[in-house]
């Protein structure tokens, strides 16, 4: 009985739980509650993925009103895969939240934090689960507004400016998306994604549709921080509370990429994307610029959180690059990197949470000598960094492998060269951190600062769960590769 309602439970549980947090004022109690909710969402997503893999797509009519009149929740393997990424990262990050926030947020703000966090989670899950274009916008706003609040909770006052920057950019992006959806509605008279796909296919070349497409693509690219629309991201990541950075870096941009894939391939169709207009080349060029520029900028950052933020912009470039190839192989590479990058950046930003907890700063200077004093935390940064570079036996290698294979299928040797150049730039920026941690003498005398020691287990545990996942999915790729193939098969018809 309950199983048939899974698609809506996935969204409604965190959505309803968020306001309930008000009733729990005690930081620890509200943490337990949020953790429980997130875990429930995780279990739901696992069940959904199982169900989708066994019986195929699930369509759920919200409130019993059948589509196209009612809102449809539609889960296929792509949605289920994304739901799994978001809920698993959210749960793992929350494990550390209580400890990490104790140092970064006054006690009376904890309740706010969890409310915003659960709302953001609900928003992200809603975007993924719904089969209705306008609903995507609604949930996008829910997740965005709550993430502005989450970022503004940062300890430094600069967090307010960062949040405001993001608010402005995010609102412009959301407005563009809304205009795009509005124009689609104008051209077709429906908002249901399946219906949109059917009716758009029948419309011959139409300016309205082109305009819709253009508005939509620019709006989404702001949300997913594609170079050069990434300006909001580095500050937002750098000044948000540590756990928020980890959560947003691993999930929010991934969901935006999901929206891009869904609209591009399901609604407009692969042919529209590859044959109409210069979309493919445009995205390809921007992705490459993003990879190289952001990686280079990352090298010169002295704040490690900001460094990884720029690295995220570069990694988003890889995902868009795979997408822009417009083949099944390219899409597989993108989907793999969605999952894999969530694991890497989750691990790295959580490790930074541990550093913030003990050292109080993530400036490169304060990493000096940490290799000895926080061995487990630094080892996790080594593992995450290697994964980011794409060393074999880590998830990063798997993504890169599939991306390069997809590019070679197209014969784009030149692009392969640029990607590998990007990897080398990653070597340098990861390198700078490790050199500070392992080969520079500590900034101040270890005896005078006894509080700088290994992070508490409550933070280390989630970090190492993610590190382990980085290695595990780098060796056993069955789950990720099989699901990605299945999804690509759905869009491109043939098994690559």
């Amino acid at each position: 009985m309950l199983a048939t309602h899974l698609p809506v439970l996935q969204v409604i549980i965190p959505l309803l739980a968020a306001p309930l947090c008000v009733l729990l004022q005690h930081p620890r109690m509200v943490w337990y509650f949020a953790l429980l909710v997130s875990a429930a969402a995780f279990v739901t997503s696992v069940l959904l993925l199982q169900q989708v893999l066994e019986t195929g797509e699930i369509s759920y009519a919200l409130g019993g009103w059948a589509a196209p009149w009612g809102i449809e929740y539609f889960i296929d393997s792509l949605n289920a895969y994304l739901l799994l990424i978001v809920t698993s990262i959210s749960t793992i990050v929350l494990l550390a939240a209580q400890t990490s926030l104790a140092k970064e947020l006054p006690d009376d703000r904890h309740t706010f934090f969890y409310i915003a966090y659960l709302l953001c989670l609900a928003g992200l899950l809603g975007i993924v689960a719904t089969g209705d274009a306008f609903n995507v916008f609604v949930f996008l706003e829910i997740s965005s507004l709550s993430s502005y609040a989450l970022i503004a909770l940062g300890k430094s006052r600069k967090a307010l400016i960062a949040s405001y920057q993001y608010l402005i950019m995010g609102t412009i992006g959301a407005t563009f998306i809304l205009i795009g959806i509005g124009l689609m509605y104008m051209a077709t008279g429906t908002l249901n994604m399946q219906d949109l796909a059917l009716r758009l296919a029948d419309i011959p070349e139409s300016r309205t549709v082109y305009a819709a497409f253009a508005f939509f693509i620019v709006g989404v690219c702001i949300k997913l921080a594609l170079f050069p629309l990434h300006q909001w991201l580095p500050n937002a990541y750098a000044y948000a509370p540590s756990v928020v950075t980890a959560f947003l870096a691993a999930t929010a941009t991934k969901v935006a990429i999901y929206v891009l894939i869904r609209f591009m391939f399901t609604i407009f169709g692969v042919d529209f994307f590859t044959t109409t207009g210069p979309w493919q080349n445009m995205l390809l060029v921007l992705a490459l610029f993003g990879i190289l520029t952001a990686s280079t900028v990352a090298i010169y950052q002295n704040n490690v959180k900001r460094l990884f933020a720029y690295s995220s912009v570069a990694q988003i470039g890889y995902m868009i690059l795979g997408f822009s190839i417009g083949t099944a192989g390219g899409l597989i590479a993108t989907l793999l990197h969605l999952f894999n990058h969530a694991l890497m950046k989750g691990a790295l930003f959580m490790a930074l949470a541990a550093v913030t907890y003990r050292v109080g700063s993530v400036e490169l200077e304060s990493f000096r000598g940490l290799g000895k004093r926080m061995p487990w935390t630094m080892a996790s940064i080594v593992a995450g960094g290697l994964s980011l570079i794409g060393v074999p036996l880590t998830v990063g290698f798997i993504s890169k492998w599939y991306l390069i294979v997809a590019l070679l299928e197209k014969g784009w040797w030149f692009v392969v060269g640029l990607i590998l150049l990007g990897s080398l730039l990653a070597v340098i920026y990861v390198w700078r951190i490790l050199e500070a941690a392992y080969f520079s003498p500590p900034e101040n005398n270890p005896d005078e600062t006894p509080e700088i020691r290994e992070a508490p287990l409550s933070i280390l545990l989630p970090v190492w769960i993610l590190v382990f996942a980085n290695l595990y999915f780098g060796i056993d790729t069955r789950l990720t590769v099989d699901v990605s193939r299945l999804i690509a098969q759905g869009f491109f018809g043939v098994s690559p």
Binding site: V391, P392, I404, G417, L420, L421, S423, L424, D476
Partner: protein, 419 residues
């Protein structure tokens, strides 16, 4: 011996050094116990590789499959002649170097000795993995493990100079392997659909020679450990490491992993028949020849004893690359033999250089002023060489004469003969 036992033994050659790493870290607080772990592991590995050799010699086919990472691409190992030779050389020299390290590291009161021995053991696991890899993918993984695990050894002393050397080391080795070797491997996969080493090569007959030439160039430059000019700078840079590291890793394990990979690629990926027809082969041969000559010339002008030996290694590696690229069976045999010969010779020289270092003579010209000391060392060096193998002993002596004798005439003369 039964097949499954042999399979286990093959796996163990890689697993034992890994386990030794754990053992070394756990016993880190007790140096004597820690060194026993190192020695025990090295002896065990030696026994294993000798047994594998004997079994292979009796016609047993030994291979083991670990796991499938990407459909069609597996982590698996197989014993074949080249790999057995390489593993025997490394397996034999590891215990000896361990003994030497214990004396050296203690005498120098080096810090972080636990990290040293732990990384050393990981490096050996990497070497064994490279030696027995059944396909390019497995080889690549262990090749990278070898690079990463030797980095902390290079920068062991932690001084600014060591960090500088480490940057060059890691920079060149990682960037060539990622920018060239990985592309070459994926290109091979794309063209042939397999990465397994198979005799006669893997490429289908109608592949265009220009693409194959590009791949060959990518392979030869991508295997940075083979120190082909202009990607040889990492080797002299690595000489900031403690001498046992330079001795086993940068005269034997790491560099030989490089030329070993070149040989494997030439024999089992391209196949020597195909290689002969490629236009790139000719050019690479010239480059390898130039590497031999130029590196020798540079070596003559090095004052630092270890740097001199490093450039000599670059030159010697050039010979092996030439042997491989000649694409005739005699060349392959010569190259493979030289892997072993040069290993024994060069490690002896490094051990001697370390001994000199201990009495405070780092520079070549200083050595000349201290003749009596040197004579002792020459005797010791020659003796070690002779004991290991008659032919090889001569070889070591010859090299020794070439680089270390304070007689200004001998060096150039021998070099000339070589060139």
């Amino acid at each position: 011996m039964t097949g499954s036992l042999l399979e286990t033994m093959l796996s163990l050659t890689i697993v034992i050094p890994m386990l030794a790493t754990l053992g070394i870290i756990v016993t880190g607080s007790n140096p004597n116990l820690r060194e026993i772990v190192s020695l025990l592991a090295s002896l065990l590995v030696l026994i294993l590789v000798v047994n594998i050799y004997q079994a292979y010699d009796q016609g047993e086919s030994i291979s083991v499959f670990w796991l499938e990472v990407i459909p069609g691409i597996t982590l698996s190992f197989r014993a074949e002649p080249l790999g057995i030779l390489f593993s025997l050389v490394s397996g034999f020299l590891w215990p000896i170097t361990t003994l030497y390290s214990i004396g050296y590291m203690r005498a120098h009161h080096e810090k972080n000795q636990t990290r040293f021995y732990a990384c050393f053991a990981v490096a050996i696991a990497g070497v064994m993995g490279v030696a027995f890899a059944e396909n390019l993918f497995t080889l690549f993984i262990f090749y990278e493990i070898l690079t990463l695990s030797t980095y902390p050894l290079v920068t062991h002393s932690g001084t600014e100079k060591a960090k500088q050397g480490g940057r060059v080391y890691l920079g060149i080795l990682l960037s060539t392997s990622i920018a060239f070797l990985l592309v070459a491997i994926i290109g091979t996969w794309q063209i042939s659909g397999t990465l397994d080493f198979s005799s006669g090569g893997v490429f289908p007959e109608n592949t265009s020679t220009s693409i194959l030439s590009i791949l060959l160039v990518l392979f030869v430059f991508g295997i940075g450990k083979a120190a082909m000019m202009p990607f040889h700078r990492w080797l002299p840079a690595a000489m900031v490491a403690p001498t046992p590291v330079s001795a086993l890793l940068h005269a034997v394990a790491v560099v030989k992993a490089g030329v070993f990979t070149v040989l494997k690629v030439v024999v089992y990926i391209f196949g020597i028949d195909l290689l002969q027809t490629l236009p790139a082969t000719q050019w690479l041969l010239y480059l390898a020849g130039a590497t031999v000559l130029l590196a020798s010339l540079v070596a003559m002008r090095q004052d630092n004893l270890k740097a001199r030996l490093a450039y000599s290694t670059v030159s010697q590696l050039g010979y092996i690359t030439i042997g491989a690229l000649l694409a005739v069976s005699a060349g392959i045999i010569g190259g493979a033999m030289h892997i072993a010969m040069h290993a024994f010779g060069k490690i002896t020289l490094f051990f001697c250089a370390g001994a000199l270092l201990f009495v405070g003579q780092r520079q070549y010209h200083r050595v000349t002023t201290n003749r009596r000391q040197l004579e002792q060392v020459v005797l010791a060096g020659g003796h070690t060489g002779r004991r290991s193998n008659a032919v090889n002993g001569c070889f070591a002596n010859k090299l020794f004469a070439q680089y270390c004798l304070p007689d200004a005439n001998t060096g150039p003369r021998v070099l000339f003969r070589q060139g």
